[in-house]
């Protein structure tokens, strides 16, 4: 499966990652090898199989009750900046 640099850059944008031209080229090469290997799944017979969830799986639900978290001070200890209870993050342009 041929993978070119442009595809890599498009995927990178979707994944919010940045690569130099040479990194992208190297990725493209690695991808090709890996995707070629994946082609062995095409040899498999998939007739009769479908994606509908198996009904053996149980539904696990929660009651509609309010239970506040008990350790609120520590909840924000990893935040770099707070202001009046809000998280203050670098400006987001609308």
């Amino acid at each position: 499966m041929k993978v070119d640099k442009d595809t890599i850059q498009y995927i990178a944008r979707l994944a919010k990652l940045e690569f130099t031209e040479e990194e992208a080229a190297r990725f493209a090469g690695e991808f090709e090898k890996i995707l070629d290997h994946f082609e062995n799944i095409d040899k498999e017979d998939l007739t009769g199989l479908d994606e509908v969830p198996e009904s053996g799986a149980e539904t696990v639900l929660r009651r509609d009750e309010v239970k506040p978290f008990d350790n609120r001070q520590e909840l924000f200890r990893n935040t770099k900046q707070m202001r009046d209870g809000f998280l203050a993050i670098p400006k987001v342009l609308e």
């Binding site: 062995n40 799944i41 696990v60």
Partner: protein
């Protein structure tokens, strides 16, 4: 009691099993604080060489040990793992203690809550000694992708301990703790256990809560114990398992048995009548001949012990690997999208707007393997490719489950190697990602099918490196796994062996 005898009692703490330690507490041969101190000292002396720990909780552990001594002195009920030192893989959240997944992007992350598994260990009285090294975000089979340090195999420090739970396996092998907890997505408990001569269990998917396990691949991840022997492993698993209302995938998917069996009860009844199948595809090319020989020898031992051993066809290996990498990368690409420097963790210093902040943080904070998996996962989920890869992989997953189901109609357990290779040299596979992926060939299919599997030391190579074999069972058949593993362990008689760690090794 004179100090000489006490010193003797804890002289070789590193060789003590959980039962040994508990016996010592009961007979007052030593205190919890003394044991914890001994283990901490050993870590202090030798972990510079091994590199198993990212964080050691010296003060906290000693404080907890003291408290526990007081409570035991009062005769309080203290729990089935009371005073047992435990190491926890650094992708499992520990409240107030740094949890990094061995990644720069979480280098200073301190969780405000404990994982359910951690809570269960604490409630059972275990003492948290520290957090262990791993492959970044559990992606890898050698612990080499850790952003912080390399861990060495205690049996040969020029070689890898396996991965991704390499730190945990090395900690047990080096005698730093009798119990370490790891996680297994495609073999990450079993393979390092095999490389380090330890016993490691990947439980049935859903039997141990994932709440607090920082997710790699949600439908494959499981937390499990790594110990020096089978009995300790069974005891620890019993503590860790259980349905958790905070994890909707825990014991939700069709549990075959409603009542939880007491694993310790039938541990020693032997394997007479047990049907063990050897998947013939596992003994074809690519497998190191020494490993093949060792596993076959164990199969013969099982026959001697009264099990019925036969051959079975399990045509899942090649495609299983592809299914694993497609599904795990896809889920990982989504699970790792939240790391962007905005709310916690590493933040790039170089950005003009929030978009750049996210972009640069992720590009700088993630290592190469993590990026590779994220990219692969994004690719197979992207429109245009979803049907060709992800959808097919999901269908194939069903098929693989069906193949195992059929195999378990004929056999109680499957016996196969854990790893196709012996522990390889540090740096040897760094530039061969595909080669690294192929090393998982015997382990990934159990995660895909959700079935339990255990790695047990079954011998040593001529160069003295540990060899492990794998036992796999049907959903919730851990009792059979432990039974069979215990029998073989007893028969082989090698579980007491410990590596001599080059460097500073002191005997009192």
């Amino acid at each position: 009691m004179d100090t000489g005898r006490k010193d003797n009692a804890i002289k070789e703490a590193e060789k003590m099993t959980i039962s040994d330690i508990q016996r010592g507490y009961r007979s007052k041969s030593f205190s919890v604080k003394e044991i914890v101190r001994k283990f901490l000292d050993r870590i202090g002396e030798l972990d510079g060489t091994i590199g198993a720990f990212l964080t050691v909780c010296t003060d906290k552990a000693l404080r907890e040990a003291e408290e526990l001594d007081e409570r035991m002195g009062r005769g309080d009920d203290v729990g089935p793992l009371a005073g047992i030192p435990v190491a926890i893989k650094d992708n499992i959240c520990t409240r107030g203690i740094k949890t990094t997944c061995a990644s720069r992007i979480l280098e200073d992350f301190i969780p405000p809550y404990d994982a359910t598994a951690v809570k269960k260990l604490k409630d059972a009285g275990a003492i948290l000694i520290g957090k262990t090294n791993m492959d970044e975000f559990a992606m890898g089979s050698s612990t080499e992708t850790s952003a912080f340090q390399t861990t060495c195999n205690p049996w040969d420090t020029s070689r890898v301990p396996g991965g991704s739970s390499g730190g945990s396996a090395a900690a047990v092998a080096a005698g730093f703790v009798p119990l370490a907890v790891g996680s297994d997505t495609g073999g990450s408990i079993r393979q390092p256990s095999a490389f380090c001569g330890a016993v490691g269990l990947k439980p049935t998917y859903g039997s141990v809560s994932r709440y607090g396990l920082i997710a790699f691949a949600s439908s494959l991840d499981q937390i499990g114990p790594i110990t020096a022997n089978v009995k300790d492993c069974a005891l620890s698993f019993q503590i860790l398992r259980g349905q958790d209302p905070r994890d909707p995938t825990s014991v939700a998917a069709g549990s075959e048995t409603d009542t939880e069996t007491d694993l310790m009860k039938d541990l020693e009844i032997g394997v007479r009548g047990l049907k063990i199948g050897l998947p013939k595809e596992c003994f074809q090319q690519g497998l190191d001949p020494e490993i093949a020989e060792s596993v076959q020898a164990s199969a013969r031992l099982y026959e001697k012990l009264g099990a019925k051993v036969g051959e079975v066809s399990l045509p899942v290996l090649e495609s299983g690997l592809s299914v694993y990498y497609i599904i795990s990368s896809a889920e990982a690409s989504s699970n790792l999208a939240r790391y962007d420097g905005i709310r916690y963790g590493y933040r790039s210093e170089n950005f003009h707007d929030i978009d750049e902040l996210m972009l640069h943080t992720r590009s700088e904070g993630f290592g190469r393997e993590a990026k590779r998996r994220i990219m692969l996962g994004t690719y197979v989920l992207s429109s245009g490719y979803y049907d060709a890869y992800y959808k097919k992989a999901m269908l194939l997953r069903r098929k693989i489950r069906g193949i195992f189901r059929e195999a378990f109609q004929e056999y109680d357990l499957l016996l196969l190697p854990t790893s196709p290779t012996l522990p390889f040299g540090i740096g040897e596979k760094r530039n061969d990602p595909l080669g690294m992926y192929l090393a998982d060939i015997y382990t990934v299919t159990m995660n895909i099918a959700g079935i339990p599997a255990l790695s047990l030391p079954c011998g040593f190579s001529r160069s003295g490196l540990p060899i492990g074999l794998q036992l796999a069972g049907n959903h919730f058949a851990e009792d059979k796994l432990f039974r069979a593993a215990f029998s073989l362990e007893r028969e082989l008689g090698i579980s007491g062996r410990k590596p001599v760690i080059k460097g500073v090794e002191q005997y009192a």
